[in-house]
Symmetry: C2
Subunit: 299 residues, 2 copies
């Protein structure tokens, strides 16, 4: 089955202790699609400005990513700039220019409306809701969000949440969303908001899946040379949702397996700046790391 992602396509300027990238291709939809495309066809719905070089996404087209929903609007593409500290966990946003993203109103074509898997990347929860309104009974809705919306558009986010099956969120955001410092309790409370599953991303410490019946944690794959963590969450989501769409198993066992595939894809993504590593990655490399990952979590 195939996946619809609605999110951002962007220019990122990133500095880490190990190098920097200037106006490199980024954005949540880009990272997600690059990772998910190893498992399943993906449709992107997003907006770029007239300054965006469409050929930079050519590698996605070659992997059955449909770009017909990539709107080109008058103006400049969304830009983000940030710098990571030595520990690679703390980052500072240096600049955000919404540009064409400020007036983005996702319009789904017929082929998008009927996609069985929908990933709502980290955008305004009101836009997330408007996307869901245009879909036709998707099998599974997966959603990401961030602190900016949790504090700034809380009511809209809670409303969107009632229509979401799986929420993917990082640990500090999970605590903020339900205002509970105990992560296990916070996760249980999030299940009360609508989702039947919540995935808590813990950065270098891995991720945890919580449903009413399941609590399952995976570590992060130990990458010896982390170059740039940007997009790790979205490539995790790409591997997670891509695998679900491919396997068609959305049971708790399917979700557990998806956690491993998400972690594997995120581990590749951080090995280079922008989407470079996902661009050159091969299915053979993914299989190999998957096997090593399974070894790593098997008693």
């Amino acid at each position: 089955m195939s996946v619809l992602v609605v999110g951002s396509v962007a220019f990122d300027s990133v500095k880490t202790p190990y190098g920097e990238a200037e106006e490199a291709i980024g954005g949540s939809a880009t990272y997600f699609a690059a990772a998910a495309s190893f498992f399943t066809p993906v449709d992107i719905v997003a907006v770029v400005g007239t300054d965006f070089p469409r050929e930079s996404l050519q590698f996605l087209s070659e992997r059955h990513v449909d770009l017909s929903g990539l709107e080109v609007a008058d103006g400049r593409t969304f830009r983000w700039a940030g710098e990571y500290q030595l520990n690679m966990n703390d980052r500072e946003t240096l600049d955000t220019q919404l540009n064409v993203l400020a007036d983005f109103h996702p319009n789904l074509a017929d082929r998008h409306r009927e996609q069985p898997f929908v990933f709502l990347a980290n955008i305004d929860p009101e836009l997330q809701a408007s996307v869901l309104k245009q879909t036709v009974h998707p099998d599974l809705v997966i959603c990401d969000t961030m602190d900016f919306w949790i504090s700034g558009k809380r009511d809209a986010l809670l409303e969107t949440m009632t229509q979401v099956d799986v929420l993917i969120i990082n640990d500090s955001e999970a605590r903020d969303l339900v205002e509970d410092h105990n992560l296990a309790r916070a996760a249980n409370q999030i299940l009360g908001l609508g989702p039947r599953a919540v995935v808590i991303k813990r950065g270098e410490h891995g991720a945890t899946l919580i449903t009413n019946d399941t609590y399952f944690s995976v570590p992060a794959f130990p990458v010896l040379s982390v170059m740039d963590p940007t997009g790790a969450g979205d490539s995790f989501a790409g591997g997670f949702v891509g695998y679900l769409a491919k396997s068609k198993d959305t049971s708790d066992i399917g979700l557990k397996n998806a956690m491993v595939h998400g972690s594997v894809m995120a581990s590749f993504n951080v090995e280079d700046f922008s989407v470079r590593r996902l661009e050159t990655l091969t299915p053979h490399e993914i299989d190999h790391r998957y096997d090593r990952f399974i070894e790593m979590i098997t008693l």
Copy 2:
């Protein structure tokens, strides 16, 4: 097989967002022994002052913990006071009074020298070395340390490290010890200092075992009501070493199993102040949580 622990027995005054304990029984040797005693006999070598109520350790004697090595010195018992923040990870030390611990020189009786498993709790690395000098070819030496010794007695610590089989250390200390922010690289470097295994404690995110052939992570058991994290590291070590001594399997597979037992014991410890939870704990409760833990990490 039985275990020798050399460490502290203390009075702790702890404040957390959920309550406080005034001059309650604490200390690394106490927490370690309380946890390990569920698996194997334990000998404690430590010092207290004349103000220490020996009957407060009666519950340990009933579980085959030998207290003949608990020296009573003229003066007051070691005291520590600290306060935890809302997230229960950050803590502030409010007061440290070494008292009789300042002049502690562990003297091993014959029965201690020949113990096959030796746990060097977090004390001065010079004392750790002097303990090892008194032992007779132990099968396995496990060692803990902290930032205070890493920065203050680095050379002595590195010297001790050459005689240690398993180092148990938290994530920030591992980074500091070898001055590398990448945890996977840091762990590999620690293996170069002497230990054949390193266990990196990640607090609420679990723990990771690294050897030359194995990388194995466990999550923390999700405790819904964490009352007091004091002693979590030592009760982890107690479950870890206690299980190894009981199973006599110190292969990488044995170490992996020990990780689970360590995590289970730490998860009980944080449910109440001081050693209260370990005092009332039953083998049946441990078995039950172990089964739930295995479920939690099984794909």
